[in-house]
Amino acid sequence: MLDLIIQIFPYAIAFTIPLLITSLGGLYSERSGVVNIGLEGLMLVGLFTAALVINKLEIIYPGKAIWIGLLAAMVAGALFALLHAFACITLNANQIISGIAINMTATALTVYLARGITGSGNIQIMLGLPRKNVPFLSEIPIIGKMFFTGTYATTWVVLLILLLSWFLLYKMVFGLRLRACGEHPHAADAAGINVYLVRYIAVMISGACAGLGGGIILVTYSGEFNGSVAGLGFLALAALIFGQWKPLGILAATFFFGFASTIANVSQVIPALSSIPGILLKTFPYIFTLIALVFSAKSSQAPKAAGEPYDKGKR
């Protein structure tokens, strides 16, 4: 059993990371009071942008192209999220509907552009990120094999972002203000905080994170843009709720999803698991989440003002 866990652990982490960073994006947005169900679409925009940039640059700048592509994915995600911010914050539109619009537009737009630019709905990159062992640490028995063998550089980048985000949200003034806007925007406004500005920044950070998530999918396991991120954006949203809108909570929640999905994916080639019907393994994380949500609903830690457009004149 331990061998089995060690064997699939690095792949489970690789699968978790795009989910984690997207979920973290959702956290920024929702903590500032803007529900963002457009994560799926924002991921797709990131995936598309990264694929396009890397595809064009990888011959000229091998190696560097991947990082340029990921950066471009973040920028594109942030810009696309600006649409959501404009609709929800400036125009006071319903945040759910704007999110749906983001998802639908992103799907149609990226495929359309992909066709126009490359003549194909798919954009492939030649090579993704290499998997590397962390020197020294990977030699620690068991733990080295699980955490430091065959890792992608993006994994460490994302974990660093998570750590910085925790620090930003809980230890710095900006974080306090951001959370205040999500809990009680009128109080925050009374304290002299520009609620609109804070929310704009938060939604754009969320777009950048989701875009990065899409880009990471490309450079780690998928290797091509094909017009879909297979529902990972919604899964990230579920992880956000399951993780109770807290950085460490979503780390645990996304890892749970990542690990369970990986087990479901590879169960067929692992004799110890192949006797369990695949459908059970595949649905397990979702059923478990439903049950967990039922029990945690009462003590939900959702930001109080999430989903409400901020109206200065309202009491």
């Binding site: 064997q7 699939i8 792949y11 699968f15 609709a87 539109a93 319903n94 509907i97 704007s98 749906i100 619009a101 639908m104 537009t105 799907t107 149609a108 737009l109 495929v111 359309y112 066709r115 194909s120 709905g121 798919n122 492939q124 030649m126 090579l127 993704g128 290499p130 998997r131 396991y221 998928s222 290797g223 091509e224 094909n226 017009g227 879909s228 297979a230 999905s261 990986t262 994916n265 590879v266 067929q268 080639v269 692992i270 004799p271 192949s274 695949g278």
Partner: protein
């Protein structure tokens, strides 16, 4: 307030439909014979089924001067397919190609509803859902001998590796995919018996993932297999196969000696990880493009074989491995060519049933 939401939704729908509508072929003046295609699940450039069919149709456009267009159904139900077929018929298309066994029931409906329209159903035969096949006078059902294609790929793989372990990743467990698998196993066995190779396939490494689009699962399955010491994976799995190829590329680039055997079309270009090097050993091909082109040509010559069920195999050069295989040695290619001839003259018979093969 509600009106505002409604407006947003409507605008989005409008945008999406406008954008989606732009994807089709281009309109040209009438008179020309119109050849239509309805795609199966997946995109027109899936590097597999849809693309192969469409390439044949495009070749017909270039060579034979027909007008072409494809429509992509929103879903994969019978109703979705019939809607697009009807759309083509309404637009004056009298010749419609549909790739994929999922069209079986839709074509059954359509062939009686539109008796003056010719249908080509690739990889399936029309039936009403009860598998009692009725090929209408205006329909041609096309099958491929995937087992022979898989057999040749298996022989090539075994001869090239000489010693090692292989695996199989299939998409859905449907006849076309199963026959690839069974043929591949027989090909390995043939080479082991007659050419002294020792290339094995372990039952635990023969799996059907269950979909054609789960790229992540393809990558993770391949990673597990390669970790267990598998040297080459035969991936007959559409998008799942993309994941397999991606994993093989990543490993090959770090110097690991791992391979993928591609499917349907020559997938060598998909496996390129540095200039001039590909992780795709060879591909088990079906010449879908040739068939769709030939059908259009036959229609124009008024020799359309309506009512027939055609099988394309080695005997009529409908399946095989690519002409150029940069990853195979010349001797291996020569040997595979000999095996090809042996299948052609009936010396080797490849079974298209499971027998005592794995899965």
């Amino acid at each position: 307030m509600n009106k505002k939401y409604l407006a947003v939704i409507l605008v989005v729908f409008l945008l999406t439909s406008v954008i989606a509508g732009c994807g089709g072929g281009k309109a040209e003046p009438a008179e020309k014979v119109k050849v239509g295609m309805v795609t199966d699940a997946g995109t027109i450039d899936d590097k597999s089924f849809n693309q192969g069919t469409w390439e044949g149709v495009l070749k017909a456009e270039a060579d034979l001067g027909v007008e072409v267009r494809y429509l992509k159904p929103v879903g994969t139900t019978e109703a979705d397919y019939i809607r697009e077929i009807t759309n083509l018929v309404d637009a004056g298309f009298k010749f419609i190609v549909c790739p994929g066994y999922k069209f079986e029931t839709a074509i059954f409906e359509a062939q009686t509803r539109y008796p003056d329209v010719k249908f080509v159903l690739i990889d399936g035969s029309p039936h009403a859902g009860d598998y009692n096949n009725v090929v209408g006078e205006n329909t041609v059902a096309v099958f491929f001998a995937e087992h022979e294609s898989g057999f040749l790929a298996g022989v090539a793989t075994a001869l090239q590796l000489k010693e090692g372990e292989t695996g199989f990743v299939g998409g859905m467990e449907i006849p076309a995919v199963q026959k690839f698998n069974w043929g591949f196993q027989q090909g390995l066995a043939y080479a082991n018996e007659n050419h002294g190779t020792n290339v094995t396939i372990n039952a635990e490494n023969v799996i059907y993932q269950g979909s054609f689009d789960n790229v992540a699962a393809g990558q993770q399955l391949a990673a597990q297999m390669y970790d267990k010491g598998v040297d080459a994976i035969f991936a007959a799995a559409g998008g799942v196969g993309v994941g397999v190829i991606n994993e093989a590329k990543a490993r090959a680039n770090t110097g690991e000696n791992v391979w993928v055997v591609g499917v349907d079309v020559d997938q060598y270009p998909e496996g390129v990880y540095v200039e001039g090097k590909s992780a795709v050993l060879t591909s088990a091909m079906k010449y879908i493009d040739v068939v769709s082109y030939d059908m259009v040509a036959a229609y124009l010559d008024e020799t359309f074989p309506g009512g027939e069920t055609l099988t394309f195999n080695v005997a009529n050069d409908g399946v095989g491995i690519p002409k150029d295989n940069p990853n195979l040695d010349d001797e291996v290619e020569a040997e595979v060519a000999k095996v090809y001839d042996l299948i052609k003259d009936g010396t080797i018979v490849v079974a298209d049933t499971q027998g005592d093969l794995i899965k």
